[in-house]
C-alpha cells in the first residue's frame, strides 16, 4: 500500500457540494431541448445586459412625423403611436422583465428556504406556526395579492417586484419543508449526527444540498410566472408607468391599434411569451440534469 505524500487526484480542488460537476454538461449534450433553452436564455440575458451599448434609438424619444411606421430598414420593428422605435422599446423592456422576474424570485426563494427549513427542521412548535402563516399567503393568488399591495403602496417597478416576492415565497417554503422532512430521516443524516456533527452543520452540509433539488424546477417556473405577473400588472396600469417601456404596458397601449399596426402587439407579445417559455423549458431541463442518478458516465457499475 503506497503511502501518499500528496493528495490523490480524487480530491481535486477543495469545494462544496458538487453540482457544478462536469457530469451535468455531459448529460446536457445530445439533449436538443436543453441546448435550445440554454442558447435562448443566453441570447436573452446577454442582449438585455448589452442594451445600453447597442446602437439603438432612444426608447423615449418621440417623433410625431413618423408614427405607426411599418417595420422597415429605418425601424426594424416599426414605430409606435408616438413615433418611438419599437425595437428599442422591446429590448429596453426586457431589462425590466428579467430584473423583476429574477429579483422577485430570488427574494421569494431565499425567504422560502428560510421559512421552510426552519419549519422542517425546527421542531414541533415552530413548524405548525410557520406553515399556517404560509397557508394564509398561499391562499391568495399571486396576481390578486400583488394587485392589493399595489393598490395600497402605489404602482411602480420596485413595488411590483416586492409584491410578487411577497406572494411568491410560500410555494418555496412548502416544497422545501416537505423535502427537508424527508431528507432529515435519511441514514446519512443519522450517520452525520453519530459523528458528532452539530445541527447547523448537518443542515448546511447534508440537508440543504439534498433537499434543494426540487426547488430548481420551482425556481425557473417562478421566474416565468413573475415575468408574466409583471407584464400583467403593467398591462392593467399598476406596474411600470408611461413613458417607460414594459412589455405589458406596450401591449396595453397598442391593443386598440391592432388593425393599423399589428407589429406593435406582436413584438412585445412574442417577447414575453418566448422569455417565459425559455424559463419553463429550463426548469424541465434542470430537473433532469441535476439528478446524478441519471448519469451515464463516471464509472458507474450499476
Amino acid at each position: 500500500m503506497a503511502s501518499p505524500t500528496q493528495l490523490p487526484a480524487a480530491w481535486g480542488p477543495a469545494s462544496g457540494p458538487e453540482l457544478s460537476d462536469a457530469g451535468i454538461w455531459s448529460r446536457l449534450k445530445g439533449n436538443g431541448t436543453a441546448v435550445l433553452a440554454l442558447v435562448l436564455l443566453l441570447l436573452i440575458g446577454v442582449t438585455s445586459l448589452l442594451v445600453p451599448l447597442l446602437p439603438l434609438d432612444d426608447p423615449l424619444e418621440t417623433d410625431y412625423e413618423n408614427t405607426l411606421q411599418a417595420p422597415g430598414p429605418e425601424h426594424l420593428l416599426g414605430t409606435d403611436a408616438h413615433g418611438r422605435d419599437e425595437l428599442s422599446r422591446v429590448l429596453w423592456a426586457s431589462r425590466t422583465s428579467l430584473m423583476v422576474g429574477v429579483l422577485a424570485t430570488a427574494i421569494a426563494l431565499v425567504t422560502g428556504i428560510a421559512v421552510g427549513g426552519l419549519a422542517g427542521y425546527g421542531g414541533r412548535f415552530i413548524d405548525p406556526l410557520l406553515m399556517r402563516i404560509t397557508d394564509i399567503f398561499l391562499s391568495f393568488p399571486v396576481i390578486l395579492g400583488a394587485i392589493a399591495i399595489l393598490a395600497v403602496a402605489g404602482p411602480g417597478r420596485r413595488n411590483v417586484f416586492l409584491a410578487i416576492a411577497l406572494f411568491g415565497w410560500p410555494i418555496f417554503a412548502r416544497v422545501f419543508r416537505s423535502s427537508v422532512l424527508s431528507v432529515r430521516e435519511r441514514d446519512y443524516v443519522k450517520a452525520a449526527r453519530l459523528m458528532g456533527a452539530s445541527e447547523t452543520r448537518i443542515f448546511m452540509t447534508h440537508i440543504l444540498p439534498n433537499a434543494s433539488a426540487p426547488l430548481v424546477t420551482y425556481t425557473t417556473m417562478a421566474v416565468a410566472a413573475a415575468i408574466l405577473a409583471e407584464a400583467g400588472l403593467s398591462f392593467i396600469g399598476l406596474g411600470v408607468q408611461i413613458p417607460y417601456p414594459s412589455w405589458g404596458l406596450m401591449l396595453a397601449e397598442s391593443m386598440v391599434l391592432f388593425d393599423r399596426a399589428p407589429w406593435l402587439v406582436m413584438a412585445p407579445g412574442l417577447a414575453v411569451t418566448l422569455t417565459a417559455l425559455v424559463f419553463i423549458l429550463l426548469g424541465a431541463v434542470a430537473t433532469r440534469a441535476m439528478d446524478p442518478r441519471k448519469s451515464g458516465g463516471g464509472g458507474s457499475r450499476r
Binding site: W11, Y188, K190, A191, L194, G196, S198, S295, S300
Partner: protein, 272 residues
C-alpha cells in the same frame, strides 16, 4: 470499573402510535465486555433496530419514549443532554446502517464524507483529514483509482458503499460499534468479505460490537454472546455456544431449526 463497556438495564422503547403506545422494546437487560461481540437476533419487528437507535440516541423523542438505563463506560446515556450526547457519539460509538448506499450522502464525494467523519471526531482537520480519509479508505479496500473513477456513492457497488461506511464509522476508533444488519443487502460473497473486514478491525482495535441481524448462522460465527428477541422482549440470552447447543426457549430452538433447514436447502443467504 466493572470491565463492562456497556450495561443496559430495563431498557424500554415505546412509540407513540396513532392508536395508543406501541412497545418496541420491553425491559431489556444485557452487558457487553469491552472488545467482545454481542449478537442480537430476531425476526423483523422484534425491536432490534430500536435498541441500536436508542443506544445511539438517534430516536426522535417526539415519537418515542425511552426509559431504563444504559451506561456506556459508566456514564448514563439515556438522559444525556443532546450536546453531551454528540460528544459521546463522536468519540465512543460508531454505527453501521442496513442500507449502505442510503447511508452515504448522494451529493457529497464519499472520500469527503470519510474526511468529514475524521474532522468531526477531532482527529485531524483540513488537508490532513483528507489525507487520513484516503488512508482509511485504502485500508478497507477502496483504492485511489476507484475514487477517481467513481467519487459518488451511486457510482459504487453496495459492497463498496458498505466499506466506505465502515471507514467513516471506524475512523475515530470508537470503543463500541453498533452494526444494524450491515450485510443483509449484500450478496453472499460480499457479505463474507465485509464480515471479515469488520472482524479484523475489531480484533486490531479491541472494539466491542453489537451485531444486529435476523440471520442466526451469520451471527453464530462472530458473536460471543447472543440475545434472542421476540416481540420486543429478550426470550433468551447467554454465551453463543450454550444458546445454540442447548436453547432454553422454544422460539430459539425454532430459529436454530429454521437456520439449519435453510442452509441445507441452500438458501441461507439471509434474504428470507
Amino acid at each position: 470499573m466493572s470491565g463492562h463497556i456497556l450495561e443496559v438495564e430495563a431498557l424500554t422503547v415505546t412509540y407513540r402510535g396513532r392508536n395508543g403506545p406501541v412497545e418496541a422494546v420491553a425491559d431489556l437487560e444485557f452487558r457487553l465486555k469491552s472488545g467482545s461481540t454481542l449478537g442480537i437476533i430476531g425476526e423483523s419487528g422484534a425491536g432490534k433496530t430500536s435498541i441500536g437507535l436508542a443506544l445511539a440516541g438517534l430516536l426522535d423523542r417526539k415519537y418515542a419514549d425511552v426509559s431504563g438505563s444504559a451506561r456506556f463506560r459508566g456514564r448514563e446515556l439515556l438522559d444525556l443532554p443532546e450536546k453531551e450526547m454528540a460528544g459521546v457519539r463522536g468519540s465512543g460509538i460508531g454505527m453501521l446502517f442496513q442500507d449502505p448506499v442510503a447511508s452515504l450522502d448522494p451529493t457529497m464525494r464519499v472520500a469527503d464524507q470519510v474526511a468529514e467523519s475524521i474532522s468531526l471526531r477531532g482527529i485531524a482537520r483540513g488537508e490532513e483529514a483528507r489525507l487520513r480519509a484516503f488512508k482509511e479508505l485504502a485500508d478497507v479496500g477502496i483504492d485511489e483509482p476507484t475514487l477517481v473513477a467513481a467519487p459518488y456513492a451511486h457510482q459504487l457497488s453496495g459492497g463498496q458503499c458498505q466499506r466506505v461506511q465502515i471507514a467513516a464509522a471506524l475512523a475515530g476508533s470508537p470503543d463500541l460499534l453498533i452494526a444494524d444488519e450491515p450485510t443483509s443487502s449484500l450478496d453472499m460473497t460480499r457479505q463474507k468479505q465485509v464480515i471479515e473486514l469488520l472482524m479484523a478491525r475489531l480484533r486490531r482495535e479491541d472494539m466491542a460490537m453489537i451485531f444486529i441481524s435476523h440471520d442466526l448462522l451469520l451471527v453464530a460465527g462472530i458473536a460471543e454472546q447472543l440475545l434472542v428477541m421476540r416481540e420486543g422482549r429478550a426470550v433468551e440470552s447467554g454465551p453463543c455456544v450454550r444458546v445454540l447447543s442447548q436453547p432454553a426457549d422454544s422460539y430459539t430452538a425454532e430459529l436454530i431449526e429454521a437456520g439449519i433447514v435453510g442452509s441445507r436447502e441452500g438458501n441461507a443467504d439471509g434474504s428470507a
